[in-house]
Symmetry: C2
Amino acid sequence: MGDGRQPVDLIVMNVGELLTLDGPPGGRVGKAARDLSIIRGGAIACREGRIVAVGTEREVIGDHRAGRDAVVLDARGSTVSPGLVDPHTHAVFARTREDEFAMRIEGRSYEEIAEAGGGIRSSVRYVRAATEDELLNVGSATLDRMMAHGTTTAEVKSGYGLSLDAEIKTLKVIAELGESHAIDVVPTFLGAHEFPDEWRDDRDGYVSHVADQMIPAVTSRRLARFCDVFCEEGVFTVEQSRKVLEAGRARGLAPKIHADELHPSGGAELAAELGAASADHLVCVSERGIRALAAAGVPAVLLPGTTLSLGKTDFAPARTMIELGVPVALATDCNPGSSMTESMQIIISLASMMLRMTPAEAITAATVNAAVAVGAADEVGSIAPGKLCDLVIWEVDDHRAIPYHYGVNLARTVVKRGRVVVDRESDGGPDGR
Amino acid sequence: MGDGRQPVDLIVMNVGELLTLDGPPGGRVGKAARDLSIIRGGAIACREGRIVAVGTEREVIGDHRAGRDAVVLDARGSTVSPGLVDPHTHAVFARTREDEFAMRIEGRSYEEIAEAGGGIRSSVRYVRAATEDELLNVGSATLDRMMAHGTTTAEVKSGYGLSLDAEIKTLKVIAELGESHAIDVVPTFLGAHEFPDEWRDDRDGYVSHVADQMIPAVTSRRLARFCDVFCEEGVFTVEQSRKVLEAGRARGLAPKIHADELHPSGGAELAAELGAASADHLVCVSERGIRALAAAGVPAVLLPGTTLSLGKTDFAPARTMIELGVPVALATDCNPGSSMTESMQIIISLASMMLRMTPAEAITAATVNAAVAVGAADEVGSIAPGKLCDLVIWEVDDHRAIPYHYGVNLARTVVKRGRVVVDRESDGGPDGR
């Protein structure tokens, strides 16, 4: 066996189209992705969870051999991409809310639904009443389904607790999921998701409570990496949002913002001012806001599934953002109120169909740009030596089929940190031959 | 064993929510489905592929027992519906067309794509060149994926041949799929899908060729049940469409029409005049056309996935149709050019989100109303004694979650003619506990 080649744990061979998304630092993040840095006839070698070689099959096999107990995966000529990164989810909740979905379609107003006990306040009620184990069960099953659809890294937010105890409980569940689940979880504190009933008459008081009590409690327990806020008319003002995000940043939490979802509320401008890790939603962002994001290099995280689920047809202006140089990422927004999906694949389809992002742009937005939005581009989002070996082996042999062939699961094999975590038989279909 | 109860082949027990869609003849077809005729705590008994009893568990088990080698399925409190019926597909083709999908997003016009060899003519080129076995392989894999998502009956059209030989070849493949695949296939002749290149300068000549040569060749071989035509500006005029459909009807093929997809072209009015089995697409139908369909009792088959895939946001006016009394059905339009999906589930989601159909209306449209549109409501589309035992056991326990929880496969077990044909482990998720 001592043939001079390095032994490795995992080799992926016979890759028809290897989407590395590798490139000069930052070069792939802004503007449109002109290509995906594709290697044809490629292979990947991995040791101890990290990629050690990427190249043509001849290059990789020339220098590396399968070590003892190594796994060798035959991609059978199909497309291989980095594991998908979902940079905006609310995946820890207690109950789904299909009842409100139906009420909205029947024409009930938000106020009627709120009066019937619905809206985010119902999720808060359920999360406060739930045990950690109950939340863990729902969260774990949700991450399972994300992974089955190709996601290997997911950001997960708190924000259905809205009290010190319930936010800490949620973040502990998120941390436990990060330990126990194969998916890498990036935790975000979103105590400023909404004003809880008990603080409705003292909104500034709640903002101070978040800034002065909750954030120190979160950071002293090392339970979050980011601090997020729902900056929107009727929810947190720009001033209140700035106060929360600055308090978080003072304790080491990088800022993220739910910005300009329903109105142009100045959220994008605030994200630019603070150099936020990302500005998310942006359905109603102003052109000034877009230019500010571009100038500051703040990634936009777009959530077309939310627009669709709410029955709206005005989607975020992705093309303008790309043209003006904003790095665009995509996310599921997985949450029980406005976007009940775990699949980044349907989001990639919607991005091409409704946001008019090319397949290459949409895949860039769901991998390397999403990794930038969660501060993890050093580790994930592209296929390059030193990165985690997070991969999707697809049922298709042309990446353009990923957005095109919609509503079904095209991920055949998912590899996380060099380990096969999903290996599905095809459901059939023209690319599943 | 002789306890007086009838032995059966299959029992489904412990159904939390049994959507029978049973009701007075025709009563469920028109207007809005007010409910789904739900039995809570239900069970189903089946013998030799047909339902023999439906009711509460006490009623069904009181009269029926599992015979020798019977299968007993525990629905674990979840929702059970009729197998889904997909009443409009072009599921037999030779190649996918993701290249054109990407070109459209990059802003290329239809003409440019056609000049680059694309459009329906590329599918025609590939189908003419393909062997029956090649078409059978693609078609079979496509039906596999349909079935994995809950479809148990599918209409399949020819129409990528556009010559006598290639249309007969396609219909023979469709017939072979009907024989070999668990899904029941309803064959439709669509020789008038487009004008083939060799007849472009003699359109009326091609219409006569379809009417006088192709239709007799199809019916003498008993290869189709319906005759369809693409009635649209620039394709088949109302006069040409009438000629094709009347020729088909004279030989026993019931008419169907691709109507008013791109312009209000009089297709709905023609469907009403002919008493067609269905009028399909109808994105641009006039109010007069809708009223004509309602008066004639012609079902509308809506294809919201096609609108989405083409990047458009003007969807068919489903609410107006429902309000004016048109029976509304839903279909995937599964085809490589404008709607590459096999999943009726994403179509149900789009119907609720974009067509504003309630979950009950959308499920009605994907089962009993779809069965009406393919002339099969006596056999499928509802759960009642005498009907085929075609069922979906869902991962959810509230039917409203079927459109709500989108982009993932919620069908856990699929039963076709009393036989379990799909039995998936859940991918996880909040309803997959």
